[in-house]
Each structure stands twice: as structure tokens, then as C-alpha cells.
């Protein structure tokens, strides 16, 4: 059943969505450029010599923020906005009566967008190395492989969180406002603005219980070669996926009973 689903449906969805994304390549290039927050943060950190307090060298810090940029590029999710728009405009109705959960479409859309985004992210990384030649490094293959997996798991966590929020559309019609609330902890606790290690010890112990540090901080530390608890990080990522997936299924099943097929 699952191989059939992957082969016939997901693969075709991915292929079609990739063709669709190629129609928007300029937009995607701009989106890639707009994700350079970690480079600004790197500048703030190094110019103010803040990294000394967390025992991280300039080189390791610049590698961390470059990796944070990469992880962000391949884990950014906007499903709540797409679903909200489709739901309000009635576009989701034809998808609901097809033998495929509409979220698979959004999932494929995100993956296709990431594939399209990849060359632009590489070009930006090249520019980064031109200005920071001392930061050039080649991660070993096993670390690279683990980092790709953890980035994908990070994407899955974010996708599930946003899908749950998106399902709130069935009740409130404006689920994106809740997502904006979630954006604040995502921004501050995920490691996008600062490595989580820089937080005070008592705050850190709480942060590590939330899904946020496993979105950017863990995969970025892993890829950049910083010390990190690999098995602990993966366990938490998988645990959050195992918690979020049934929650999504439950809210989806309850929400579709509330669906009124507005706009159609």
C-alpha cells in the first residue's frame, strides 16, 4: 500500500509540483535571498564579540549561522497560509473528494519548492565563502547524511505543527493569526537568531523540552561540526513527530466534519 502510494501518487505530485515551481523561479530566488537573517545575526554576534561568552570561535560561529541558513532554507513551511487561502476560496473542495488527503499536495509543493530553491541556496553559500574564506569546510559524508535526515525531520515537525494550525481553519477561518503567535518562539528558540547554547542554563532545560531547538539549532550544530547530542536530538525529533502526527489526524478528522465548503 505505502510503496504504491509513494510511487504513483507522491512521485507524480512531486513531478507536477516541481514543474509548477519552475514557473516561479524568480520568486523562489527572492525567497532564498530573504532567508539571510542568520548572516545578519552572525554579523551582530561577531562585531560585539558575543561568542566569547559561549566558548565558540568566530569560525565555528560563522559555520553555525551558514548551516542555520541552509537548514532554514530546507525546512521553511507555509502550509497554513496556502490551506487557509484554499479553504476560504473553496479551492480545497475538489481535493477533499479525491482519494488523497489534500495535505499530500501541500507536502509535495514544499518538497518541490525546496528542490527548486537548492541551486539558489548554493549560490548564496558561495558568496558567503567568498567573504568568509576561513569558514570553508567539508563535512564528512556520514555527518552530511545525518544532517540531511535531521533537516528533513525538522521540516516534518514544522509541517505537522503548521498543518495542525491550518486545520483550525475549519473553526475560525483565520488560522494564520495563530501561526503568527507560534512564529515568535520559533524565531527565538529555534536557534535562528542565536545558538540555543547561549541561553541561561535554567531556560535551556525548558527549551529542550519544546520542539523548537530541533528545528534549526540541532541540525545546524550537527552539520557545522559543533558538539551536540546526536542520539538525543534525533530521539526528540522522532518523539515530536510521533506526538504531532496523531494530533494532526485527530484534528483533521474532527475539522472536516465542520467544513462548510465556503466559497463554492
Amino acid at each position: 500500500m505505502i510503496p504504491n502510494l509513494i510511487k504513483r501518487k507522491i512521485f507524480t505530485l512531486l513531478k507536477v509540483q516541481y514543474s509548477n515551481m519552475l514557473e516561479y523561479r524568480v520568486e523562489i530566488a527572492l525567497w532564498a535571498i530573504s532567508g539571510i537573517i542568520p548572516f545578519f545575526m552572525l554579523n551582530i554576534w561577531t562585531n560585539n564579540d558575543l561568542n566569547a561568552s559561549i566558548n565558540m570561535s568566530d569560525i565555528m560561529l560563522s559555520r553555525y549561522f551558514l548551516c542555520a541558513f541552509f537548514v532554514r532554507q530546507f525546512s521553511v513551511v507555509w502550509v497554513v497560509f496556502s490551506f487557509e487561502e484554499d479553504s476560504l476560496m473553496g479551492k480545497v473542495s475538489p481535493y477533499l473528494i479525491q482519494p488523497l488527503n489534500p495535505f499530500f499536495r501541500y507536502f509535495a509543493q514544499h518538497l518541490a519548492e525546496q528542490i527548486t530553491r537548492f541551486p539558489f541556496a548554493l549560490i548564496i553559500a558561495c558568496f558567503f565563502f567568498i567573504f568568509n574564506p576561513e569558514s570553508i569546510w567539508i563535512p564528512n559524508l556520514s555527518i552530511l547524511f545525518l544532517s540531511i535526515i535531521s533537516t528533513f525531520l525538522s521540516f516534518l515537525i514544522q509541517f505537522l505543527i503548521q498543518s495542525i494550525v491550518a486545520c483550525i481553519c475549519f473553526w475560525t477561518e483565520k488560522a494564520s493569526s495563530i501561526e503568527r503567535l507560534l512564529f515568535i518562539p520559533t524565531l527565538f528558540l529555534s536557534g535562528l537568531l542565536a545558538p540555543v547554547v547561549s541561553f541561561p542554563e535554567y531556560v535551556k532545560s525548558w527549551i529542550y523540552l519544546t520542539p523548537f531547538p530541533y528545528l534549526i539549532d540541532f541540525p545546524a550544530n550537527l552539520l557545522s561540526g559543533n558538539a551536540t547530542n546526536i542520539s538525543g536530538g534525533f530521539s526528540m525529533q522522532i518523539l515530536w513527530i510521533l506526538l504531532l502526527f496523531p494530533a494532526f489526524k485527530k484534528i483533521w478528522s474532527k475539522g472536516t466534519k465542520k467544513y462548510t465548503a465556503m466559497g463554492s
Binding site: K9, S93, I97, Y259
Partner: protein, 331 residues
């Protein structure tokens, strides 16, 4: 004996609607205390539809036609009552059920806007588990029937409304569903495109024996496709039966225009007991019951010197207009 494919029993649907008073005061009151009320849009309706039937749902805007279709295809959940479509409870949306139905809503599209329709067709084919060769065969067959061979490779955004609607239809029929729910499928199309679409639906029904449930405000769609109609008025069924029987009920008389040689003849006809609708110097229009047309014509032709005569049926749109505002046809 043809079996029932759709069976609806005591079906109702209510929506929670929030309302507020106009003006700033109303807005502030609404902000702090929202008033919602439950609005029953479908009220305790029951009907059955046989396999292969084409049934038209008639009613004014907001009467509840589309809500009924949405419940039949499993898009929305009924508040009360039971629905069985092809032996399934629609709202459970089991794959076996979904592979048997399709819903087409005029002006609502599922095609990917920036890609040629062929991409959406292959995508739908994979969603419905069709292999590539079978998908190709069906696309070829349906595109021949719909006459859209050249448009398959042009981005959807560059197609005309008619071409887009045909492509939507192809995308919705690629899995060869047995039951079609069509909500205003000809909305916005020009007369030729409407006619072609009707021809296609007729042919599809003949070839596949598919059951079709249709709503439309274009009366030609209803009269040329549906033998049976279900009239919906304020969420209740006001008539369920043959269309021609309904038309007979609503138009028990025909109008006969008689062109006479002189005003004297007109006066003679007027004084001979016919119901006169209007008259001019040498023309008179009389109303005659449907069951006495032949005898009335015999009387007129035998007793009066008539230059010409025309028998008029009231325009179909006018009759259907009555349907939309009338509550009951059986009383």
C-alpha cells in the same frame, strides 16, 4: 428493475451563522459578544435516484440545491438523516466511494493554473491509481469527445473559459465515475459552449449509464438533459417528478392567436364564449385548456373566417421562474 443508487432519508443540514447590527455600535457589541444562530438550510428531505438517471435540482439562489449536492458527494456533513450513495455513507469518504463519484462546480477549478491541463490530468490519473497507458487512453477518448486536443498542452491561464471548463470536465472524469454531481457546470459559458457541454454529458450518460445530479440556472440545461426534476424551496422539496408533468401542471392552458379578416370577425369570436387574453383591430388571442385544444380549433375553423392562427406555449424560462417562487405543486 433498475436499482436506486442514491437514497436520502429525512436529511437536514444546519449552519451556525453569526449576525451583527450595522454601524459602530453593532461592531463593538459584536466584538465583545458574538451572536450566532443556527440556520436550518435543508429541512427533512427524502428522495431516491435510480442508476443512470439524470436529475435536475431546481430552486432559487439560496434554496439549498448546492448544499444537497455537497452532502451527496461527502463534502459536508449532514446534521440529521441518512444518505446512501452507491451503498456508501458519503461523508466517510472511503476511497472506493470517492473513485466512483465526481463533483464539478462551475467557475471553481482544480486544474493547476500555470501548467498545461495535461499535467493535471496525469496527476489526477495517479491519484485515482490509473496506470500511464490507461490514463493516456482515457485522456485521448475524453479529449475527442470534448474536442480539446489542441488545448491540452497550453497553460491553463491562457485558455478561454469554455476551453477551461472542458478541461475541468476531463480532469473530473478521468477516473470514469458512475455518479456525477454537477453544480452549475455551464455557468459563464457562451451558447455554443453550453450546447457542446450538454451534448457531451448526454453522450457520457448514454455510453456509461452514469447517474447525473445537476443544478443549473440555464433552463436549457435542465430541459435538454433531465427527465426528472427535484424542486427545492427554502430547504424543502416542493416537487419531485417528471419535468413535463410539472410543466403541464404549471401551464394548463395554451394561447391561440387568431388573425381575422376584419374587426367584425374579432368581435364575433370575443362574444362566442372563449377566454380572451387581448385583442387588436383584426387579431385576438384566446386561452384554451390543453385538453380542449382540438375541439376549440374545430369550432373556430368551422364557424369563423380565419386568415391565420398561431398556437403559443408560454416561454420555458417564465414557467421555471414560477417554480423558483412557488412552494408546492401538488396542492
Amino acid at each position: 428493475m433498475v436499482k436506486n443508487i442514491i437514497d436520502v432519508e429525512r436529511l437536514s443540514k444546519s449552519f451556525d451563522i453569526s449576525s451583527r447590527e450595522p454601524g459602530l455600535k453593532g461592531t463593538i457589541k459584536h466584538f465583545f459578544r458574538r451572536k450566532t444562530k443556527s440556520l436550518k438550510v435543508i429541512k427533512n428531505i427524502s428522495f431516491k435516484i435510480k442508476e443512470g438517471e439524470i436529475v435536475g435540482f431546481l430552486g432559487a439562489n439560496g434554496a439549498g440545491k448546492t448544499t444537497i449536492l455537497k452532502m451527496l458527494c461527502g463534502l459536508i456533513y449532514p446534521s440529521e438523516g441518512t444518505i446512501s450513495v452507491s451503498g456508501h455513507l458519503p461523508f466517510r469518504r472511503k476511497d472506493n466511494f470517492l473513485k466512483n463519484i465526481t463533483l464539478i462546480m462551475g467557475q471553481k477549478q482544480q486544474l493547476i493554473w500555470d501548467l498545461p491541463p495535461i499535467e493535471s490530468f496525469y496527476l489526477n490519473a495517479s491519484i485515482y491509481d490509473l496506470d500511464k497507458n490507461e490514463a493516456k487512453r482515457r485522456i485521448r477518448k475524453l479529449s475527442d469527445m470534448l474536442e480539446i486536443d489542441n488545448e491540452l498542452y497550453i497553460p491553463v491561464r491562457k485558455l478561454s473559459l469554455g476551453q477551461r471548463m472542458k478541461s475541468e470536465l476531463l480532469a473530473a472524469l478521468i477516473h470514469e465515475p458512475n455518479i456525477l454531481f454537477l453544480d452549475e457546470p455551464t455557468l459563464g459559458l457562451d451558447i455554443n459552449a453550453q450546447r457542446n457541454l450538454r451534448k457531451f454529458l448526454q453522450k457520457y450518460n448514454e455510453e456509461t449509464n452514469a447517474t447525473i445530479c445537476l443544478t443549473s440556472h440555464y433552463m436549457k440545461d435542465i430541459t435538454s438533459l433531465c427527465k426528472r426534476v427535484i424542486c427545492v424551496h427554502n430547504g424543502s422539496i416542493s416537487y419531485d417528478g417528471k419535468l413535463d408533468l410539472l410543466l403541464k401542471k404549471l401551464t394548463p392552458v395554451k394561447e391561440i392567436l387568431l388573425v381575422c379578416h376584419s374587426e367584425k370577425d374579432v368581435l364575433q369570436i370575443e362574444n362566442s364564449g372563449f377566454t380572451v387574453k387581448n385583442k387588436t383591430k383584426n387579431e385576438i388571442t384566446i386561452k384554451v385548456k390543453n385538453n380542449s385544444i382540438t375541439s376549440s380549433l374545430k369550432t373556430i375553423l368551422n364557424n369563423f373566417d380565419i386568415e391565420d392562427l398561431y398556437i403559443n406555449e408560454p416561454p420555458i424560462d417564465e414557467i421555471i421562474g414560477k417554480i423558483l417562487i412557488k412552494k408546492d405543486y401538488d396542492t
